[in-house]
């Protein structure tokens, strides 16, 4: 009899919040974010390689192509920096999927799923850790850019806002990457599947060059790309030029991707057995 009463009680609280509620959720997210950041501290090569590549791009594009590329109203370096910072966070977000695929194949996800922790914390922790990593790499990049002569024309507040937008943009791409990583369950595939669609998207945009010289069909594509509108907006902020429609188009993309893919990723995480 008593047994039944206890059972009834526990069933009725089935969907009530956990005893710790929001505090536990935040604590779980904190723990998982810490774990994600430790991965970069213990595997510094992940950071080093993903920093060397954009630094090389920055130097090569500036000194090799820079002279040949006509940029409206400013020198090529100033034009390139907002673009290359965006490229850094996009490539960086691929690591989110790779990290999750790594966890899936190592079986540690099973442990997390058997713990009384918030399930969403596994994904939130990983994407937040990659956000921190992206911010770190961005700061490093902007320092290098300063050294070789980059000078923003917008106010310091505009520059900080621009960096914030880029970081948020990278965060939304992390959720796309998370969805891919959870679907493929294998690190090599996650790496390839993460790069393959990002690469053309990055080049067919206003990251490296003004899109005016591209063939017409490609311009059409580049114009609606989330990357182009976001780069145009942050470039306008950094160079103190008018942003036009780019700012709201970019926000629609960022929040659209963020909402869609965080839902998809959570769904995919729930499906994995």
């Amino acid at each position: 009899m008593t047994e039944e009463i206890i059972l009834e009680k526990s069933t009725s609280t089935a969907h009530a919040p956990a005893p710790g509620g929001l505090r536990w959720l935040l604590s779980d997210i904190y723990t998982m974010t810490w774990r994600g950041i430790m991965r970069y501290i213990r595997l510094p090569q992940l950071l080093i390689f993903s920093t060397i590549q954009p630094v090389l791009f920055l130097l090569l594009f500036t000194y090799v192509f820079g002279g040949a590329i006509q940029t409206p109203g400013t020198n090529y370096l100033n034009y390139l920096v907002p673009g290359i910072l965006t490229q850094v966070v996009i490539f960086g977000s691929i690591q989110t999927g790779v990290g999750l695929a790594e966890d899936m194949s190592a079986g540690i996800i099973s442990r997390f799923r058997s713990l009384p922790m918030a399930r969403s914390a596994v994904l939130a922790g990983r994407t937040l850790a990659d956000l921190c990593r992206n911010i770190f790499v961005m700061v490093l990049m902007i320092t290098v850019a300063f050294i070789i002569g980059f000078r923003p024309e917008g106010s310091i507040l505009h520059v900080i806002l621009a960096l914030g937008i880029i970081a948020l943009f990278g965060f939304s791409f992390s959720w796309i990457s998370a969805t891919i990583g959870l679907s493929v369950k294998n690190t090599e595939t996650a790496q390839v599947a993460g790069f393959i669609w990002v690469f053309p998207l990055v080049f067919a945009s206003s990251i490296f060059v003004p899109i005016g010289t591209m063939p017409h069909w490609l311009q059409t594509f580049a114009n609606i790309s989330p990357i182009t509108v976001t780069v145009n907006w942050v470039r306008a902020l950094i160079l103190n030029t008018p942003a036009g429609d780019n700012w709201w188009q970019s926000l629609v993309w960022i929040f659209g991707l963020l909402i869609d893919f965080s839902l998809l990723a959570v769904l995919q995480y729930g499906k994995t057995e």
Partner: protein
């Protein structure tokens, strides 16, 4: 009779075309070690995944500490610890960090998590390696850390899915001792294994499953009794006559063990069978170097019950 701490009733689970579990039922009394024995693909891991809320059954019910694992998974997760088939530890963290992380995810105060981590590192002889990243650990050390991680929440019920697979004999012995110690402190352990020796040594009750069904259940002693009183082993003087010997004794359904050079079969009444058998072997003119009548091992029970004998 006390309520069972784990109760599984008619659980079914299929993946696409594979029927991993086809109506499994059993009860586990509190404070005991329960051995789930079966070959690869028998459905052991599927069952553990259902009991640890990682997987939902298609049909049937499962209760852990009186709580329905399907209806109330988060309550169940507070009471259990799981060490799965793969050492589920973070390679980039140190042993100590791994334990403290799992402690934090059980929402232990950080001081308490640190204290328990310290204690577990000692118990599992990992104190020296505590501040090294797991990447540098041997297979046995990872496995020990994995089991230690599953204990940091001080679970009422511990699930160990093939805990000693891939361990060297020394590590295996150490792990067995830890499990025996745990049971003394009141923890219930459900353990899956392919090693009969392991189930024989640790488990109070054993359930043998094969192809998603329970084929036998009982204590090691009861299971051994099920296939007869003993096993007869006959070594012919001339190994080339193994086939002929088996043919002579075919009414006993013998098994030929080539490497050991013997023929064996299970017997129910050894005293009756022995003279009868000797007459037959004599009549066939086969010279015998040794005859032994012994108690069956759990391996033989297992093979007999899963029809591979």
């Amino acid at each position: 009779m006390a309520e069972p701490i784990i109760s599984v009733q008619d659980v079914h689970r299929s993946y696409k075309n594979v029927h991993a579990l086809q109506g499994v039922s059993f009860d586990v009394p509190e404070g005991t070690v329960f051995g789930l024995l079966g070959p690869n693909g028998a459905g052991k891991t599927t069952l553990v995944n259902i009991l640890t809320t990682l997987l939902k059954p298609n049909k049937g019910t499962a209760f852990v500490a009186g709580i329905d694992v399907v209806k109330n998974p988060s309550t169940v997760r507070n009471l259990i610890g799981l060490a799965g088939q793969y050492a589920a530890v973070d390679e980039n963290l140190t042993g100590k960090e791994n334990l403290e992380m799992v402690g934090a995810l059980y929402h232990l105060p950080s001081k308490e998590a640190k204290r328990r981590a310290q204690k577990l590192l000692e118990e599992f002889s990992l104190t020296d390696a505590a501040n090294r990243t797991v990447k540098t650990y041997s297979g046995g050390m990872r496995r020990r850390l994995d089991v230690a991680s599953s204990l940091i929440g001080e679970p009422k019920i511990l699930f160990l899915d093939e805990p000693t697979t891939g361990l060297d004999p020394q590590s295996r012995l150490e792990l067995w001792e830890v499990i025996e110690h745990l049971v003394k402190t009141g923890t219930t352990v459900l353990l899956t294994t392919q090693y009969l020796e392991e189930a024989d040594r640790l488990a109070d009750t054993i359930v043998i499953i094969d192809q998603g069904k329970v084929v036998a259940q009982g204590t090691a002693k009861e299971l051994k009794a099920q296939i007869g009183a003993g096993v007869m082993e006959i070594h012919p003087a001339d190994k080339t006559k193994l086939g002929m010997l088996a043919e002579t004794l075919k009414e006993y359904h013998p098994h030929i063990d080539m490497p050991s050079g013997l023929v064996s079969f299970s017997v129910h009444e050894g005293s009756k069978t022995l003279p009868e058998m000797i007459r037959k072997v004599d009549a066939a003119g086969i010279e015998v170097s040794d005859i032994e009548l012994r108690k069956p091992t759990l391996d033989e029970v297992f093979l007999e019950l899963t029809k591979k004998f």
